[in-house]
Amino acid sequence: MKNYKSIREVHDAYNSGETDPLKLTRDFFSNIHASSHNAFITLCETRALKQAEVLTQDLLGKYAKRVPREALPLFGIPLGIKDVLTIDGVRTTAGSKMLDHYIAPYTATAVQKLEDAGSITLGKMNMDEFAMGSSNENSAFGNVVHPTHSDRVPGGSSGGSAAAVAANLCMAALGTDTGGSIRLPASFCGVVGMKPTYGRISRYGQIAFASSLDQIGPMTRSVEDAALLSQVMSGKDTYDSSCSTEAVQDWSRVVFDTAKNPNAKGLRIGVPKEYFIDGINAEVKTAVLGAIEKLKVAGAEVIPISLPHTRYAVSTYYVIALCEASSNLSRFDGVRFGTRPKDAMESKSLDEFYKKVRANFGAEVKRRIILGTFALSSGYYDAYYKKAGQVRRLMRGDFEKAFQKVDVIVSPVSPTTAFKVGEKSKNPLQMYLTDIFTIPASLAGLPSMSVPVGRDQEGLSIGLHLIAPRFQESMLFKAATLAERLAT
């Protein structure tokens, strides 16, 4: 089948009669069945084909072979949904054995908005268990295989989503990002990955890892598609108190206008000195500096900046994320939720029952629950969670100060390209440092994005990381569009 570059191309193909939603959906399923990426945990084939059939009838019938782009901006677009988002009647595992048999009774707001805009859900994407991981080696359903280099990890935790978009198994996918879980796999697999401002997109229906950091976002083939999906999903939701009422702009228009006139004049780009440290892979550094240089040539002003609290980011992040995770995962106790092992019902006490059920968690999830539980224990709250919250505010302050001088901040997404399978899985600390550049924007709740800007000698993708001020997605999309155009 054809490898469409964007949603716009698919709609053009629908309009020309080259294909239709049903044909395209069938094509994707034949690709999926032929693939060996293990990108999906659950396929929604019957459901998807039914959706596609209705849309195809509508296209040929009431829409007279013209895609109703205004009313249904995602008309007939086959998507993959990270398996941490609920869909009514569909198995939702969060990559965990714990939820192997869990059928959600309601649909996540973000997914509902996409389907209301005409999208088709092909299936639920593989991921690190409960979104905890940077390599997708923590899934109870097996590793996701990198789309081009099978000895490499696709990045995590939204590894299935990234690999599927790159391998043409879906047009676009949803990921979730807590400390880099969209941006890192996007960078490793060579797709666009965007994490909107915290609170832009409702988290209702997103199985929580760390509630104050979690954010849903698109993983796409182009910046243009990322803008379109974000726009559809954003906006207030009465079911999520942390979801913002901030007005949503026409980001597709921003991308369109920027692409038409790719001029970087007036754009002030901040380059934080703390993000170009020793230990960063030389090829990554060269590619990122090259992308910055191209923006400069296109008229952007490049300004060196400092984010002095960056060195505390990883430790601060892990305290906050793990504390919240230990709490969020309490509900998987085998009473209402959580698979009961066969012998659980023979338990002599409630404690024994909980022990048997909670043995279902994978090693990394257990490690994080234990660390988080410890940090929240009586007498430790002030030293850990509270202190981390204070450092988090300082880091927010760093960004606010920097954004007085610049419009966007750029950096590498990760110090390296996709690393080898097994390379870091025995060393959690090394693994945690993979997210060193993506974590600060997560802590500050800022919109940020990974855009492919090059490849290393082995052909592994390198992403440029862009960060904008809170609710300034327009600025982010503008800069990302420029970076994308200049890279090709």
């Binding site: 609920t86 996540a108 929580a208 209402r336 939720f337």
Partner: protein
């Protein structure tokens, strides 16, 4: 040194869970309350839930604004400071009826703080005391576990029903004071309309912290907590038992263990549930799903103005308007249903029936759940007022009404309860009695005035108690003088 002669003092602090009478739950759209006043727990098990109250993965709490307004009302009516910013926190514990593994509550900064209640107690409510309120915080109720032999079932219908917890200072010194505090608080939350006040359904549940110390000692003794008692009388009895149990322990040279105890009302005993060492580490932290609760000054001001007449204000008004005693007025405002009943009765009967109605209502007549209507009481008060029946006859009517129902006038008629005020009927009876007691008559006439009572009593007996007492006495005196 503690010995048998040591005089102890009981120190009591109370934590009351008040169920807020909102239509939906505190964080979800599921119902919190039924029209019938029955608990949602009694619906088909687990039918009254949404993904939010059953804690489905991915679900999020969305705060019910009405519950917030109700909590503020409670704070305003108890003189609390309303915190313009407060926080929700997660309280973690594993238990089958806690679907999320934590309860959403308030911890570090609750919505209301530092209030007080003025309580009255003693036989006539002549003793008063100020009891401090430490804080009022909002939280969600848990579900219910139902235990069978070999297995337990969980019902989440009640999970997420909004509660406020009202925490007092350890200011009370006797079970009587604790009872007075509870009745006062109960009167306020029901008058505010923020609580249905159904004790059987657990709308108003109390935990009592009890310790004792030698009188005059500046330090508090080790306290125990008696959990979940839902009747005022039982709270008083549980505290009484617990204080004497602690006294016996100390006299026996034992130490009081800080622990949670349960009260068994059948045995009138408390027994240990769990000790502090086994106590949970709740790992409180601010709930990241709920932003800080910010309350605008305007909201507080508007609520202040909208507060209904509170029991104390109403009591003062009843005293002024109808001349009720403080004690009587206090009784009339003890619950909002009683005070409403009283005022409706007075409206029907007229202001001058108020005292009589209050008398009838304070005579231990149970209104709640009875067939009595305000008209029953206004009718009776009018009949007493125009001397058609006596107070004791009125009480007889009430007991007939409560057993069989009926119409006041007809019962009076049928049972022959009318007072005899007819001179022509009374005169022959008195003449007859004077004639049959010549000795007493002579003694009276020679100065033994005390015998008046004897003659009146005899005459009353002869009329089977139906004679109008005032009229009868007047007539007897006239006849005795000859």
């Amino acid at each position: 040194m503690i010995d048998a002669s040591t005089e102890f003092e009981t120190v009591i602090g109370l934590e009351v869970h008040v169920q807020l009478a909102t239509d939906s739950k505190i964080f979800s759209t599921a119902r919190a309350r039924l029209e019938t006043g029955k608990s949602v727990a009694d619906e088909i098990p687990n039918a009254n839930t949404t993904p939010v109250c059953s804690g489905h993965p991915g679900s999020l709490p969305a705060l019910n604004e009405k519950a917030v307004l109700y909590a503020i009302k409670a704070g305003l009516a108890t003189g609390c400071t309303i915190n313009r910013a407060s926080f929700f926190a997660r309280k973690h514990y594993f238990y089958p009826d806690s679907p999320k593994g934590y309860q959403i509550s308030q911890y570090e900064l609750p919505i209301c703080e530092r209030g007080e209640l003025q309580i009255e107690y003693g036989n006539d409510g002549e003793l008063t005391k100020r009891v401090g309120i430490t804080r009022i915080h909002m939280e969600e109720d848990a579900g219910k576990s139902v235990h069978f032999s070999g297995y337990s079932l969980v019902n989440l219908n009640r999970a997420g029903v909004p509660l406020i917890e009202v925490v007092s200072e350890p200011d009370m010194r006797s079970p009587e004071e604790a009872g007075a505090y509870l009745r006062k608080l109960y009167g306020i939350v029901t008058a505010l309309g923020i609580c249905d006040g159904n004790l059987q359904e657990g709308n108003f549940r109390c935990d009592a912290n009890v310790s004792i110390r030698p009188k005059g000692s500046p330090q508090f003794g080790t306290r125990t907590e008696i959990k979940n008692v839902n009747s005022f009388r039982f709270v008083e009895k549980a505290i009484e038992f617990e204080a004497s149990r602690q006294r016996m322990s100390l006299l026996a040279g034992e130490k009081i263990i800080q622990e949670t105890r349960l009260y068994d009302s059948d045995k009138n005993q408390t027994f240990s549930m769990r000790s502090k060492e086994e106590a949970q580490d709740y790992r409180y932290f601010p709930d990241p799903d709920l932003p800080p609760l910010i309350i605008e000054e305007g909201v507080i001001e508007a609520l202040k103005k909208s507060l209904p007449e509170l029991p104390d204000q109403k009591r003062d008004r009843l005293m002024q308007t109808f001349g009720l005693t403080r004690f009587q007025a206090g009784l009339m405002v003890a619950t909002s249903s009683l005070s409403k009943f009283f005022e409706e009765s007075v409206k029907l009967g007229g202001d001058d029936t108020a005292k009589t109605i209050a008398n009838l209502l304070s005579a231990g007549t149970e209104i709640e759940g009875s067939i009595f209507t305000p008209a029953h009481f206004s009718d009776l008060a009018k009949l007493i007022g125009d001397k058609t029946i006596s107070v004791s006859a009125a009480k007889q009517v009430l007991s007939i009404l409560s057993a069989k129902g009926g119409v006041v006038a007809k019962i009076v008629e049928r049972e022959g309860l009318k007072q005899v005020s007819d001179l022509s009927a009374l005169e022959p009876i008195i003449d007859q009695i004077l004639a049959s007691n010549p000795k007493q008559l002579e003694e009276y006439r020679s100065g033994k005035d005390k015998l008046l009572g004897f003659f009146v009593g005899q005459a009353m007996k002869a009329t089977q108690g139906k004679a109008n007492p005032a009229l009868l006495q007047e007539l007897v005196m006239k006849k005795l003088k000859g």
